[in-house]
Subunit: 346 residues, 2 copies
């Protein structure tokens, strides 16, 4: 960054800054009635239900700017919110973005962040309709609210799973977690030996899954085309083990997951082995995959052939049977639980 | 706090904490279809437009816990967002609340914060429908999104003011700012002489205006009853001078404000004098009043008699005439502008 121009945020002021960063964001949807620039945004969802999700991301807790390019951070911050809207079987339409930054950040740095936000808005066809820009004493805070819409009969909650339903997952599991482990290791090496530059090109898949995840819009679209309505759904942000627990608790059920069915990418498997982490542990407890975990009635199984990248990994059971993992050795054990790390680390 | 019980947040974990803090929040509205506990909240605004506003509040930037009771902070954090919704002439219906806290805060401290949030939800009849709880390395961050509804013809934007319109303001100006100055002074005295306990009881009005502001729901209700539709409106968060500028810029107009018309409470006046601050400066540039600044067509002036606590302070003019203050001495000067302090301070 040393040779790039640096404009102090204070030269623009709050309103100048918002205008500067968002001037290229044009509203794409007629139903985004009013965007940035008033007390509130106005949305016309008449005839449909409004779906709202919000996330708060803090530097040093949720992201590390040592290895996270700001453009990717902007992109990812949007994607993780959209993922929540898709997990309702709804369509995201708008976002609001609030950021707090210290004067350590230049206008150019924020431009990069907003370039990523812009890319995500463009790719997922959502309008940036509001937000707030303020200062922080130290570090960066990003708060994003995503707004979507759905018809009442399309919405899928976490509480609709029934015993006998098949447990399905999109894509593969644990890749983002192994990407994060690799980045953290390279960071430690670089701090100890600043002359060593990490070469991550052999590990582009897992690093990309951490730095630039995508939300599974394609799966939601395929549900609609196939006429498949999941009975329950959640996006995998806290790891399969935690997120399946949410579905089971809210549906009042148990579940069994088959270890041999867990979809794990070969690069995830290989990096887990390098780190002496059991690949199943990465798949069960690694967070931030942003894949969809959903359940379907057993008589709908034929419709799955029209949904790409989906694996059946288990079955919903009665609550009394608990939440189980059947290992590759055929033993049924309690699903390994992992607490919420963010709070424990602090 | 030394004799009160202290429960570490880590004993509850993220999901336990959210549940613990929000278990008394019941949805009040049938149109809040789904609240906390899924990927997103679901709102039925079918037939009306959805209005969204969001704010990000950081400790040491937007609030100081040395003199801000957590319960008041929770209450105020909600109110400042609702104020934005009312400023659209809309009705707030739901909020989402995300907080980030370090382990310096106990569960009991967060309970106090949520007690204030609860009081505001109860008083303003809004449902808490979602949010996020996470850790911070240091300090507290609060992010609130307010969701409201309005019919298309009721909404009032910032861009509808026309030359000749009357500029009106609810309540009085500068009180919250003088309350803040007093609290900051007492804080400095207390830090230098810890044995001196501030007695703020003589200044309850201005201190209350800073610590526990209210949003002007009553004015919005009176508009509806009186059949008065403002041409433009904004809530006063950044000070009259800044906020009037927003209306003028977006409406493409100028304005003239009469110093002698500015409504200033006697306690504000007296404290400003004590601080050697011109009371007009407090009224023009003091932020966080959360009063409504609005414009009405001149032929609607008779309807103002049905709107309580409103003062006509000036007139919208052509853009070319600029934004002027006519002083008590009859001189017309450029409205004193004040930049955005939050970013400059950092």
């Amino acid at each position: 960054m040393e040779n790039t121009p640096r404009t102090e945020i204070s030269t623009l002021g709050e309103f100048g800054l918002i205008h500067h960063l968002t001037k290229n964001f044009e509203l794409q949807h007629a139903f985004s009635v009013k965007g940035i620039g008033d007390d509130a945004a106005v949305i016309d969802n008449t005839g449909k239900l409004t779906v709202i999700s919000t996330d708060l991301l803090l530097e040093h807790v949720h992201f590390d700017l040592l290895y996270t390019p700001l453009k990717h951070l902007g992109y990812k911050s949007v994607v993780v919110n959209l993922s929540d809207i898709y997990a309702m079987n709804a369509e995201p339409r708008q976002i609001t973005v609030s950021i707090a930054v210290s004067n350590r950040f230049s206008v150019e740095a924020l431009e990069e962040l907003y370039e990523g936000i812009y890319k995500a808005c463009e790719y997922y066809k959502v309008d940036l309709v509001g937000g707030d820009t303020t200062s922080s004493v130290k570090g960066m805070v990003i708060s994003i609210t995503a707004i979507g819409e759905a018809t009442d009969d399309a919405l899928v909650y976490r509480d609709g799973a029934c015993p006998g339903d098949l447990i399905c997952v999109s894509g593969n599991l644990g890749a983002a977690y192994m990407g994060l482990q690799l980045l953290e290791r390279e960071k430690r090496i670089h701090i100890e030996n600043p002359e060593i530059q990490p070469d991550l090109s052999d590990h582009a898949y897992i690093v990309g899954r951490h730095l630039k995840p995508e939300a599974r819009r394609d799966i939601i679209a395929a549900f609609s085309t196939a006429g498949l309505q999941p009975t329950a759904m959640i996006d995998l942000s806290d790891g399969l083990s935690n997120d399946l627990r949410h579905i089971c608790e809210q549906s009042g059920t148990g579940a069994i997951v088959y270890e041999k069915q867990l979809p794990i990418h070969e690069d995830t498997f290989s990096m887990a082995t390098t780190f002496n982490i059991h690949p199943t542990t990465a798949a069960l407890n690694g967070g931030e995959d942003y894949e969809l975990l959903f359940t379907i009635a057993p008589d709908k199984v034929d419709l799955l052939q029209d949904i790409p990248h989906v694996t059946v990994i288990g079955t919903i059971q009665d609550r009394d049977s608990g939440i189980l993992l059947e290992t590759n050795q055929g033993k049924q054990i309690d699903m390994p639980a992992q607490g919420w790390n963010h709070m424990r680390k602090s």
